[in-house]
Symmetry: C3
């Protein structure tokens, strides 16, 4: 690895991030102010707690979730925090500008920061796919594009496709998964077969991953109910998420035992299945009026997640050389898609006093919005992938696809102690 390369990244990363930070501060200086309304302040307590829960998920949950690769555990947590705070600042600004579609002064309140945090979470999900294959500078570029693309997608969905706030946010899992998968597809190959094995065997047992999983588990009901306005919808979203998570945990453990030739339970499976229930129940959580439906949904999500990870993963990796480090596709992608479809079905079933043609039209629009989200994810992922391949941050060496070993050979990528 030439020293020229290292220097360029070494200079670029701080330069780029400092410039970003200065731009953010200037924009905040000119365009933001704190809310001064009394009503807003009364809501502080409730919102502060909900916000804290979401923030804990983002920092602890996603931070520790990706620590299972021995070589990346430090990078995972530090990069996670770095990307999160950058993403939140950008999302807060974009959310303000895009919502009011002008450059007037915007008001920063608890709910806007909460929305920004949820949007920035999409970056953390995508990072799970590419971690160990890109450097921090590339991750910063990815953050900028993904947050912008997802904010735009949400805006279009809400304004023109009649989607509500909650559902448009819940499509995030799906968006982030397909974004990340597209990026990783675009990154230059071939993946050396040796590093593939290394990637698998480096998976040392880590209680920290379980810690991250549990943090996500515990606070998922807060996440799924955060954007709902009506008390009874919040209520139902919380209950449904708990039931779905509980059943997807049971299903995941069983599926894992069944899938293993000797009946061993695989911890990686547990991490995936446990979370799949929460993802799947996200979008329709406010429409499910009885626990059994949430339980069935959780159970199906658990099965899809383990089944996909066990059988589809190897197939995709062989066929299209798609290397999904943490199985994001099966934890977030497919369960998110399932949730979106169930949501549309439930909306159609629960629509009352609507004639058939109107209903059919509405279902079409909803399906269109779902497809639009995925298309936007893939398109912006493609853009990001090409950009990450094109540019100055590339090495002239042959191994463009960094395995987890190379993370330590190339100091500029590593997080030392």
């Amino acid at each position: 690895m030439g020293s020229k390369y290292q220097k360029s990244v070494r200079v670029w990363l701080p330069l780029c991030a400092i410039t970003l930070e200065v731009i953010f501060i200037v924009i905040f200086f000119f365009f933001t102010s704190y809310s001064a309304s009394v009503d807003e302040q009364k809501k502080l307590l409730r919102d502060y707690r909900a916000f804290q829960d979401v923030f804990i998920m983002a920092t602890f949950g996603f931070g520790f979730l990706n620590t299972s690769l021995r070589r990346h555990c430090w990078s995972s947590i530090a990069f996670n925090l770095f990307l999160l705070v950058l993403g939140v600042q950008l999302a807060a600004l974009l959310d303000g500008f895009l919502t009011q579609l002008s450059l007037r002064k915007m008001v920063i309140d608890m709910s806007s920061i909460q929305r920004a945090t949820m949007i920035a979470t999409s970056v953390l999900i995508s990072a799970g796919v590419v971690l160990g294959k890109v450097n921090l500078l590339q991750l910063v570029i990815m953050t900028l594009i993904e947050v912008t693309a997802f904010s735009a997608t949400r805006l279009v969905s809400i304004s023109y496709l009649d989607m509500n706030m909650h559902v448009s946010m819940m499509y995030m899992h799906m968006f982030a998964a397909y974004f990340g998968l597209t990026v990783v597809c675009c990154l230059r190959k071939p993946l050396p077969s040796a590093s593939e094995d290394k990637d698998q065997t480096a998976t040392s047992p880590s209680l920290f991953t379980m810690l991250g999983t549990l943090f996500l588990w515990i606070f998922w009901p807060s996440f799924n109910s955060a954007l709902l306005e009506l008390a009874d919808e919040r209520n139902m979203a919380v209950f449904n998420t708990y039931y779905a998570l509980a059943v997807s945990t049971v299903t995941g453990i069983l599926m894992s035992a069944l899938a293993h030739p000797q009946g061993k339970i695989n911890m990686t499976h547990i991490h995936k299945a446990v979370l799949a229930g929460g993802v799947a129940v996200g979008a329709p959580s406010y429409l499910i009026h009885a626990p059994w439906l949430a339980m069935v949904l959780g159970s199906v999500a658990g099965m899809i997640s383990i089944g996909g990870f066990r059988y589809l993963q190897a197939c995709l990796q062989r066929k299209v050389q798609l290397h999904d480090t943490y199985g994001v596709h099966y934890t977030f992608g497919l369960p998110g898609l399932l949730g979106g479809i169930v949501n549309i079905m439930l909306m159609a079933l629960q629509a009352q006093g609507v004639d058939k043609s109107t209903l059919g039209y509405k279902v079409l629009i909803d399906l269109g919005a779902l497809a639009f989200t995925i298309v936007m994810g893939v398109a912006s992922g493609l853009l990001t992938g090409l950009l990450l391949n094109l540019n100055i941050w590339k090495s002239t060496h042959k191994i463009h696809y960094f395995d987890d070993q190379s993370f330590w050979k190339f100091p500029h990528l590593a997080v030392g102690y």
Copy 2:
């Protein structure tokens, strides 16, 4: 170990759990609905937080508490989550049916899930005694029996023995400890003396156990005040629990230094003593009107816990071959008993305008309820122990009592990565 045995468990565990899950979903389908009352929903915020605290204790606290045996740490956390979600579902159903004593539709609200979680916590305490000696299928059977038995005990105590909700739940620690100890007594012996040593020396220093302990520490005040209705009782329960925990921590560290010939402080002691204070203050927490009494109670609990673990443990292990892996008897059993007795004394002392004979009768009833809880714990533990010894899940080999080594020899028991 014959392959026939392995296969039978391998098939039985998923089969049994899937059947259970299907039965749960069907019962939930026919017999439950979400609350639709507006008052209920207003209470959501308060109850949601209290519920979250209890749930964090159950998942993080008990999950990480039992990770100190190196061989079991994975199993401990994964099994803990599995048993918890099964237990909560069963307890929610039983609680509904037993409370209304009929098969009418029951309402699922936050407080019913919270009660169910607290009941299911009893399984996690008992699991601390038997962990490493039984397989997951046996733990599932244990969960079913223990949750049923404890729900029934609570119902009888509340309906016929005039106990209040709060105290009947706080007797859980005691119930769970004696249940677990009876089960472990019934499991076939002999314990090979070699494995006994191994059990001790495998205790590698683990910060994770401390993490679990701290999670329990922090949220214990929420646990002890969760079922109290009046604001001032909640208030006092919170304060008293903090003071008791603080003093039991100090006492525990001192006792540990005194008990060691070279004045070393033993981390295992700290885990025990720290929690003993919270257990002891549980039942009487709403009756203690000044901090000093909670402090004295915490101090006594800390002493009982360390003293018992240091001196009684070895004695019991030698005499009745009672092998209490995590010292559950001294963390939960004895301090729980102390709390029960203090509760009865305080109720008698604070009773006003009651003549002596009525008071004596009341104290007798209370003592009877305390004894009844222990007897039910032992009886249902006996039933469970016999059942676990009797059945098809037994191996035909001579070592029926699995030491922590065998956990890895028998793949069907293990949690791999």
Copy 3:
């Protein structure tokens, strides 16, 4: 190490702590009662949450923050909890007596325990400087002196120097840092040059330190807003703290990459910089009316922290043999000083309808209060340092300055398992 020394400490520590605990219980018996007012109880929910956040910071945050030295990780967490519970009890009593300046019965409520916890946190910060250089008995002495000195400082500042509750508490970081540094200066030298190296190299990568850092990160906004009464001030304090933390994280990571010759990011730097933002924004958090100012302040704090740690640390260690184990000076001392100065500037700028001479007088008083806090920290630190050097807990051996190795050679200091 002579056995006489060991015995004396072995006897003294439990004796001293038991005496303390008995004294505390007796004082609590005579002088405290729980609040019986109804208004107070209504505030329980809000205060309980804010209190929990602060308590989680103290136990998890500071407990795990100092685990990075391999030899101390056990001691760090156990001692942290021990010092905290002792400190809280003392601070609660002192706070009551000093506030009412009499020996009447005082009322224990949530806000008094919260204040006591915040005061006791100062001990945990100072412990970060001396950890590994003193034994537990010496830490107990330090706790008693520091809590008393800081309570007195706060009382004088509030009563005579016209400081408000919030600011006087936020000066804690500064007080604790200079207290700890003075103590460590007084501890007998010379520091063997070998142990100095050991201290550095023993810094094994530990995810637990990151866990502690994240706990502090997450709950810092609660800490900075805990003592503010008005809803809009709380609101602003929460927002400003988030923005300052976010920007100090970004700045810290960049500075770390720039400071390293090969562009590596140093995790120790991240821990420091991440927290520096929260410390710096503490005092002025309620006066900052726009996010950009908090962002600039966080950015400067991050730079000071990394710059100081990287360049000033080595210089101080060589010149005055000041050995600051965890870089407390750069995480808490300097950023705290920055926050204090910014607070005075903002108060002066935002003062309205005040003529110039009055304003000048006010600024002088404020600067005096700031200086007084530092002087009190240094003075009480000097007293503590001399006391710790003087006494019976000293060994007659030549190595008075325990390196982290000796922690395990001298059993009375160690936490075993």
